[in-house]
Amino acid sequence: MTQTPGPVGMSREQMSARAALDIADGSYVNLGIGIPEMIAQFIPEGIEVILHTENGLLGMGPSPADGDGDPELINAGKRQVTALPGASYFHHADSFAMIRGGHLDLCVLGALEVAANGDLANWSTGGDSIPAVGGAMDLVSGVKAVYVMTSHCTRDGIPKLVETCSYPLTGVGVVNRIYTDLAVVEVGPDGFEVVDLTEGVTFDEVAALTASPIQDARSARVER
């Protein structure tokens, strides 16, 4: 594959900080394993967000100081975490009752592909990899709002925002919004809509790197 030179997008930290800006005070949120976890570090001062981890903890805090961890206090990515004041532990059926029952306000997940109708593929690249799904299908079917955080294209420059997913689906029509290194994209009734652009990136550049029609909907949005 050839590397296509493209616009310079945000770093993972910048993407996380950008996504963190849109999380409402008092929200109950599940952050997916990997880059979405990073959002927790960028919640603005004065905003209280309660983090849920599907392995049985509400009120998840940051990683413990070295040597202070408990191998039985971990997050869904199996990394050691802490519990904040107001936390609670519960078993898996209760944890997924929160998810499936629509009690969580938001989850942010990674993606292999997102389609213009909101289909998400993020659990399997097919082929002979070992299939593993975890809680992703539960999250996308149950949480009130599903955001995706992902690079706009693969390392090989292939667009991840597509007309139809080619990888096995995680959920059908489930994604509400996508935070990429280049733009913030809503999944609207007519497909992708850019609602915010990374500084220095143009709408046309984003459109060129999106494998489905995309609208410029920035006018509908208050400038920040």
Binding site: Y28, L57, L58, G59, P85, G86, S88, A97, G101, G142
Partner: protein, 236 residues
């Protein structure tokens, strides 16, 4: 900062609309949120569908709500009471509807509503008149009936202690349906005898995590229904 406390029972039940479905915690008087029910009577909403295991006693609490003509339909397992004629009189005269549900099926339907499970199969009541018309399906050679989830606009429950996030612990057998109703209602209101700062409840012993609770109201000395009934109190 998350702080779900509201000033008083009146504020706690604000916003309930005509014809709403209201789940009310308690098994008999254990766990019955009397002060919240009385606030609901004062509020005035009518045409309610109420989910509770029973139909109250005397002329206070749930029985008073029914007596005030606010309840169009009861969903419960045991509408008889040794010391209340409120429900029977309305029922016999056709002024209140009853959906009678076996107690365990009632509990499971409420849990299902809170857990995003729209329907499930159970062996309970197969072959009885309570499940006439229900779909019957065989699993492992045994008949089961399909039951549907129950959800509500509002849940009124009682707990022993809450923190500002709405994390709850209960008192003994007053727990009963309340943790399930907290999950199944759009808005869950809890009256508690004690409010502690967030962090004041051990995360290992929380029974209802705050995510299921919307409003916390402090009722320091809740009335006991049996005391009120023994003293002949009526509400309002």
């Amino acid at each position: 900062m998350i702080d779900k406390r509201v000033a008083d029972p009146e504020a706690a039940v604000g916003g309930v609309v005509e014809g709403a479905t209201v789940m009310i915690g308690g098994f008999g008087e254990a766990g019955s949120p009397i002060e919240l029910i009385h606030a609901l009577i004062d509020h005035g909403a009518s045409g309610l569908t109420v989910v509770n295991n029973n139909t109250g006693s005397g002329e206070v609490g749930l029985a008073a709500l029914i007596r005030a003509g606010r309840v169009a339909k009861m969903i419960c397992s045991y509408p008889r009471s040794a010391n209340s004629t409120v429900f029977p009189e309305l029922y016999r005269s056709g002024r209140i509807e009853l959906e009678l549900v076996p107690q365990g099926t009632l509990a499971e339907r409420i849990r299902a509503g809170g857990a995003g499970i729209p329907g499930f199969y159970t062996p309970t009541a197969v072959g009885t008149e309570l499940v006439e018309g229900h779909e019957v399906r065989e699993f492992d050679g045994r008949d089961h009936v399909l039951e549907h989830a129950l959800t509500a606009d509002l849940a009124l429950i009682k707990a022993r202690r809450a923190d500002w996030h709405g994390n709850l612990v209960y008192n003994r057998t007053a727990r009963n349906f309340s943790p399930l109703m907290a999950m199944a209602a759009t808005t869950t209101v809890v009256q508690v005898a004690e409010v502690v700062a967030t962090g004041g409840i051990d995360p290992e012993v929380v029974i209802t995590p705050g995510i299921f609770v919307d409003r916390v109201v402090h009722v320091a000395s809740p009335a006991h229904e049996s005391d009120l009934v023994a003293r002949g109190v009526t509400y309002p």
